[in-house]
Symmetry: C2
Subunit: 305 residues, 2 copies
């Protein structure tokens, strides 16, 4: 039984009010698989990089017990590269450079050893490629979580709607939920989106936490109030990876387990933003993760008499 | 032992995407005292109206056991009038008309029977008038809660800072916390504001809930996700009234009781926005309130194993 994560493994160059980086390793599959590895030790990635991607970075996945058999390394080609600059409020950013490179014709290969996949994380990518992965798995996983973004709603809406019919959980932010549904109220937005395929919807609200909709219920998870957000890049992917990693650990798919999975995902995302790139989430101890989760408990618990 | 509420009792004319009203009764003290009356039966208001204010509306306070001995009725003068129009997102609004009328030279009178005040709610008004009320109470109340807004930060900052030194709890929204502190991070904003006088700070985030800071702790309260917000007018006042009403009921001022008070205040505010003006919060049953509070529990409870 394994957890397969598909998404980008790539280079980012990031500028925030606190500093800027050269090319550092990023990508949805990088963040999500590292996050998932804190809860589950059979995480396997499907991605593509060029031969400019350092072997030492591939080895780092191994240190987290992340299987890279499905990571294609394209000879003579370059890895996907994104460069962006965050505004002062850290809630909005400008994309400076996008070089698709190997991603332009990414054809995901599912190694035979990945066919034991029971939990599938579709990180942000073209909906067409996300769908291909589902189709190439011989057995439908127990839980398929899909992350996507407004970009695909703008340029590939039909593909997105097709792929949404094949999944269990969709994770998007509040603006995207409004765009996808045409509804301003998130309750109405969720009602509509839950008729489009997914049984569960997670609406990510950044510093305001997250909402889980499904089974006729709603769960509101807080975000940890932070003194400063250093670099938001990868927070959503880290959240999704932590979420599905925890679900794979507990094994049973239900609303209650998803509530906890959201708290664990939020805890990891709160670490992610404290440093540039993957620096923080590459080096967490079990104790740090447990301590952060306890902060979420303390933050939101109340006892009505 | 009583709970004194000072603020406006006034007329509003409201336009939202769902409709518009003629002049209806509103005002911070109206909403706050009605909300408080669900938890505590010795609520007393200090306010001023003109003789255009209907006796039947004054009688309605009595039906909620709200004492109106401190409500001045100015002969030959007109009540404060505000008219506003909400935008489609319901989070922003334009003020169309503000007629101060009796409010222009409001000199609050504290009846002798109000001197048993142990809980004082300073609804949104000029900080100078709020301060006068504190000074005219012979004994310092056990808990002073102050609501204010960006308008006073713009035109009466020094008065506001002076009054803040005399209170226990400040309630403002997130934009106001940022304005008052000059800090974007709400954690840093709270740290600064808690050096300005109040021991506790409540940051109201509308559809994203509320944060309580104090005693070195943070509590994050969810907002109830609603299908639609019909009229947000008075929601903040209702929240504050429910908060201090619950505190008066339990009697002991500490962080844990404030957490519950925020949930009760949020529950009442969630009713407030379901209809125009005070219509909904004038007519709630105990069972409705308890049911709504239970919805908050269900919404936010999780059990980490």
């Amino acid at each position: 039984m394994s957890l397969v994560v598909i998404g980008t493994v790539a280079f980012d160059a990031i500028e925030t009010p606190f500093g800027k980086t050269d090319k550092i390793v990023g990508g949805a599959a990088t963040y999500a698989s590292l996050a998932a590895s804190y809860f589950f030790d059979k995480v396997k990635i499907v991605a593509v990089v060029g031969d400019d991607f350092p072997q030492s970075e591939i080895d780092d996945f191994g240190k987290h017990h992340v299987n890279t058999e499905g990571l294609q390394v394209k000879k003579g080609e370059k890895s996907f590269f994104w460069s962006g600059k965050y505004h002062n409020d850290m809630n909005s950013r400008d994309t400076l450079i996008t070089e698709l490179n190997v991603l332009a014709d990414f054809d995901p290969i599912i190694p035979e050893s990945y066919q034991d996949c029971e939990f599938l994380m579709l990180g942000n990518l073209t909906p067409q490629v996300q769908q291909t992965v589902i189709k190439r798995l011989h057995k439908r996983p127990k839980l398929i979580v899909m992350d996507t973004m407004n970009f695909w709603m703008d340029i590939a809406l039909n593909d997105l709607l097709d792929t949404m019919k094949m999944i269990d959980v969709l994770t998007i932010n509040d603006a995207e939920a409004r765009q996808l549904s045409g509804e301003y109220s998130l309750v109405k937005a969720a009602q509509k989106i839950l008729t489009m395929g997914p049984k569960y919807l997670i609406i990510k609200k950044g510093e305001h936490g997250a909402l889980l909709f499904g089974d006729g219920k709603i769960f509101s998870a807080p975000a940890l109030p932070l003194e400063g957000v250093f670099d938001p890049t990868g927070a959503g992917d880290t959240f999704a990876g932590g979420f599905i990693g925890y679900m794979a650990k507990v094994g049973t798919v239900n609303f209650n387990n998803m509530k906890n999975a959201i708290i664990y995902g939020s805890a990891l995302a709160s670490f992610c933003v404290e440093k540039f790139g993957t620096e923080k989430i590459k080096n967490l101890s079990e104790k740090e993760v447990a301590g952060r989760v306890q902060e979420f408990v303390n933050l939101s618990r109340f006892e009505i008499l």
